[in-house]
């Protein structure tokens, strides 16, 4: 499977990474090379094999559904590039 420029543009958008039009051919080539490498997996007979979901056969731990944390608004906002009045600030979303 080789990736064309249209697909490269679509993947970049899905990944929310801006890629300039003039860089798309290189990107398409690089992605195609990596995918070609992955094609080897088609040689493996995986009939009846269950996809691995957990590498150790261990049940996920459970804990009581209670509040264990909170009241740390200042700490949560401390690293924000833009925060005002207790909120994260982003460009206008609603027209």
């Amino acid at each position: 499977m080789s990736i064309d420029i249209t697909t490269a543009r679509k993947v970049a958008h899905l990944a929310r990474i801006a890629v300039r039009d003039e860089d798309l051919p290189d990107l398409a080539r690089e992605l195609s090379a990596v995918l070609a490498f992955m094609e080897q997996l088609n040689e493996v007979d995986v009939e009846g094999v269950v996809p691995m979901t957990s590498v150790t056969p261990m049940r996920l731990k459970r804990r009581p559904d209670v509040v264990t944390d909170g009241n740390i608004q200042d700490l949560i906002l401390a690293n924000a590039p833009d925060a005002r009045e207790g909120f994260f600030v982003v460009p206008k979303v609603v027209e």
Partner: protein
């Protein structure tokens, strides 16, 4: 005591307990060594004030007779670990300025046991790389060299490996997703162990590929690795994949006795075009373990060849999901926006500016293999192959194999910049011997065994049964004793 920064952790611990050395003197020696080693670019955020404060506290504890093994031992912390109040940016521009208000579980445990933090260590961006060249700080440099070329310390834990090899610290934390502890250890003549998946908590470690990531120690001896792993490991309710199992006294398990143990030599690890020196070293390692009384057995791990392509589906898929959080909203870098730019432009520009080339490539590969129509063909198939790779290991362990011996890397350290024009796959091949271990969740350790023709260190890898790090460390200890590797890099920095 002159140059105490050159001591092993075990030696320093004993000297501290006897009162022959103070943590303050030891820490000052390390801080001076770090100041003189700017050319290695290993420490990227230095924390001398924290170090001195922790050293004084450690001396008090030692005097009071309350001194766990790591008490007063100066270490470096990979930049991937969140450390409270200290920049932690995974060597990425996108986390520029990020100062965590919390402490990772592994570093918290280390500090509770009295370890002293000298600073944060260089690495590949988001741990994606094998040469430390994807770092926003520029590459860490290997203290080993043979001519005027600067060599890579490997990656992604390259700063950790360089700092330990150059005696800037007594040990360092690393993380390993596909070989990021073991390959740099092999390139620098140091010891690095990736424990069983779940042995060390991942909480507070910047996530790359969550089903593969594990933290581990990087040290100058197997004994030191046993000591430091003991302080890092243990159950943590903050990580749902952390194993609720007791942590044994790994150091107490180092007897060096491997008589009657079965060591597997997997035939599929004999790669086409493998340098003769690597082949010879591997044979030498097998001979050493046989001479120590172990039985050497030829084994087969038939799906080995497919580990690397499976890894390069699974790891980018998980990375694309984990790295979605870097959106310029909650922390780190946000791009300057132009007139009319909305939130989508903010995400796209922020991520284009904040992620380096390799990270962008992997995020996009991951996005592609998870996208509608390709999920089954790539991601699900890779997870099935992963199950088969694990089954290969389960089979040989069920047949009575105690440990598996393989080369750690396909070559010794290469020059910085030498792989720049190579295609990404060539760089990925660095992980060819190590990546199977992550896919199967097993413990693996790299032990320095010899020097190549040029005079650069080479390592061998031992792979153990799940949860049997103690036994694995003991095999590594036997190999270390037989190899007697004592070479050090000539100081040029």
């Amino acid at each position: 005591m002159s140059n105490p920064n050159e001591l092993t952790i075990a030696e320093a611990r004993d000297a501290l307990r006897k009162g022959d050395l103070t943590a303050v003197d030891l820490t000052e020696a390390c801080l001076s060594a770090i100041e003189a080693a700017g050319a290695l670019n290993a420490f990227v955020h230095k924390t001398p004030e924290i170090a001195m404060e922790q050293a004084r506290a450690a001396d008090d504890r030692i005097r009071a007779g309350d001194a766990p093994a790591m008490c007063g031992i100066p270490i470096g912390i990979k930049d991937l670990f969140c450390t409270r109040g200290v920049p932690s940016q995974a060597a990425s521009k996108i986390l520029n300025g990020f100062v965590p208000p919390y402490e990772s579980t592994v570093t918290r445990q280390l500090f509770e046991s009295g370890a002293v933090m000298l600073g944060k260590l260089n690495m590949d961006e988001f741990a994606m790389g094998s040469s430390n060249e994807t770092s926003v700080y520029g590459p860490a440099v290997n203290p080993w060299r043979v001519d005027d070329r600067l060599l890579t310390p490997g990656g992604s834990s390259g700063g950790s490996a360089a700092a330990v090899a150059a005696d800037l610290c007594l040990g360092a934390t690393g993380t390993d997703t596909g070989g990021s502890i073991r390959q740099p250890a092999a390139f620098t003549g140091t010891v690095g162990i990736k424990p069983t998946y779940g042995r060390c908590s991942r909480w507070g470690i910047v996530a790359f590929a969550s089903s593969l990531d594990q933290a581990g120690p990087m040290t100058r001896s197997v004994r030191d690795a046993a000591i430091m792993l003991g302080a890092m490991a243990g159950h943590d309710p903050m990580d749902s994949t952390s194993a609720d199992m007791p942590v044994p006294d790994f150091e107490a398990m180092l007897t060096g006795d491997v008589r009657g143990k079965k060591i597997g030599i997997p035939r599929e690890y004999r790669m086409d075009g493998m340098p003769e020196e690597i082949e010879a070293l591997w044979q030498k390692g097998a001979d050493m373990l046989r001479d120590a009384g172990a039985e050497i057995v030829d084994i087969s791990l038939p799906h080995t060849k497919y580990a690397l392509p499976a890894y390069y589906v699974i790891a980018p898929a998980e990375a694309s999901s984990n790295l979605a959080r870097y959106d310029g909203v909650r922390y780190g870098h946000r791009a300057k926006l132009g007139p009319g730019d909305g939130i989508t432009e903010m995400y796209e520009k922020t991520r284009a500016e904040g992620f380096g080339h390799e990270v962008q490539r992997r995020v996009m590969i991951g996005t592609y293999v998870l996208s509608a129509g390709f999920y089954d063909a790539y991601y699900n198939r890779a997870r099935k192959v992963r199950a088969l790779i694990k089954r290969d290991f389960d089979q040989v362990f069920a047949d009575g194999i105690d440990a598996i011996l393989t080369p750690a890397t396909p070559s010794s350290a290469f020059g910085l910049g030498e792989m720049q024009d190579a295609d990404p796959i060539a760089m990925y091949l660095n992980d060819v011997f190590t990546v199977t271990v992550n896919l199967a969740g097993l413990p693996g350790i790299s032990v320095p065994v010899g020097l190549d023709r040029q005079g650069l260190p080479l390592g061998l890898q031992l792979i153990g049964r799940p949860w049997e790090e103690g036994d694995l460390l003991n095999h590594a200890y036997a190999l270390e004793q037989a190899a007697g590797f004592s070479a050090k890099p000539q100081k040029w920095w």
